[in-house]
């Protein structure tokens, strides 16, 4: 028996939220990476927060109306969105202070760096909180998904860092770090896919969504994120082995890596695991009943 039913369901969180997550995640982790590496030029420190600001802009466009922004801030404990708005805003404000001090060349702005470093973590983590908070969606509320989301964010940040470090010849250690993160990512992803296959057996009700994920449109995105990580790893290895091509290979690797990060975000957000509106057994029952025409006479 073949069944077909296509409810028109709205995509709760779409490409804009994915973009916000990408920008905020890689921006904040770029800052972290740079701070930890301790090298580089002051100007580079400005890049990460600028990305977070872009993320904030995307988030605001997603809110739909200005009043929602204030409403979110007012409900600061309430949701991913409120937190996103607040953290991103605070992050941006500190950054602005940094920029003005830098421009005026007054005072010691290292303490500000430290504060910004500390604030990088909430910005990095709030997307994960969104996923974990929604208890109805099993794919989201999974330790693996959270870990991967976080790892991807770090990978994006360090890739960017690697690319930027070329400009300032600040050494290879960031490229090394990026390569290492990608290795971890690939291992995790591998396990994750096995885990999903497991889940498919465990949660029968989410089967069709999983099927779509593993064999349908979701799979393409998952593959993209997987191959993004692999290809960019290869690029980094090449860059480290053959120094002259680094100028080409590292930015290329970073770009591919970021594309992979975005695909993963999109995939996770797209595949909310909703239980079907009507179970297959019930639909069959209804179809049978209607064949027998048990309607109310008029």
């Amino acid at each position: 028996m073949v069944m077909r039913m296509e409810p028109f369901r709205q995509q709760e969180f779409g490409w804009r939220v994915a973009l916000d997550f990408l920008l905020s995640g890689s921006g904040s982790s770029l800052f972290i990476v740079y701070f930890l590496a301790g090298g580089g030029v002051s100007a580079v420190y400005m890049v990460g927060p600028a990305l977070v600001l872009a993320g904030l802009a995307v988030l605001l466009s997603e809110l739909g109306r200005p009043s929602n922004f204030w409403r979110s801030i007012y409900n600061y404990r309430a949701s991913w969105m409120a937190r996103g708005a607040i953290f991103n805003l605070a992050y941006t404000l500190i950054w602005l202070a940094m920029v003005s001090l830098y421009a005026l060349r007054v005072g010691n702005y290292f303490p500000l760096y430290a504060v910004e470093f500390a604030f990088s973590f909430p910005v990095l983590i709030y997307p994960v909180m969104l996923l974990y908070e929604v208890k109805d969606i099993k794919l989201w509320r999974s330790w693996w998904t959270s870990a991967l989301t976080l790892l991807y964010a770090i990978s994006g940040g360090s890739s960017l860092g690697a690319a930027l470090s070329l400009l300032y010849r600040s050494g290879d250690q960031i490229v090394y770090a990026s390569a290492l993160i990608n290795v971890i990512l690939i291992v995790f992803l591998f396990v994750y896919i096995q885990e999903l296959r497991q889940k498919q057996r465990v949660y029968r009700s989410v089967e069709s969504a999983l099927r779509e994920m593993l064999y349908g449109g979701g799979r393409a995105l998952l593959q993209l994120s997987f191959s993004g990580a692999v290809v960019s790893l290869a690029m980094y290895v090449i860059a480290l082995a053959i120094q002259p091509v680094a100028l080409l290979a590292v930015p290329l690797g970073a770009a591919i890596d970021l594309a992979g990060v975005y695909s993963f975000r999109l995939m996770v957000l797209r595949l909310g695991f909703h239980e079907p509106l009507v179970s297959e057994r019930r639909l069959r029952e209804m179809a049978e009943g209607l064949r027998k025409r048990s309607g109310e006479p008029q």
Partner: protein, 192 residues
Amino acid sequence: MKYAMVIDLTKCVGCNACTAACKIDNSTGFGVKYGQVLEVEAGRFPDVTKFYLPILCMHCENPECLKVCPTGATFRTKEGVVLIDRDRCMGCRYCVVACPYMARYFYNDLKRPLGVPRMDLEDERLGTVEKCDFCIDRVREGDLPACVKACPYEARTFGDADDPNSRVHGLMARAKPLKEDEGFNPSVYYIW
């Protein structure tokens, strides 16, 4: 008092008069359907059964959407109707995810096909979540919900389920809701 709706699937032919009436009456934006009609098909050619399944907010007695709402914008009235206070909603969409009946819509997209103008109240709804309100304003004035009024086949019946003399009460005896054993206790019932 508890408002309820019974939809007779033996009469629904999927004409979408209800969807259009709902869209006009609630002036919803493009892509937002408080009510919609799904097409269900079972079997293999040429032995196919097909039927139409109108869905809307089920006005659960035990609503998931209300539980997750962080701002308290979603609330349930004494009439058994689940409503959203647009001025308190901040558009976080937890409820959209949580609703087991796919009844909720977040509205922030103005995309429409070429040549289709804006003819609704999009502005004031931008950035909030909206859904079917059982046409409560009409009902309080003594009218029927727009979709019930529009259905040419009288497939939809609306009324007070607690009133033993109401037609809807009588029909509910032989009707069943969707996902009836998951404890949401919805107010929309189906006859098949």
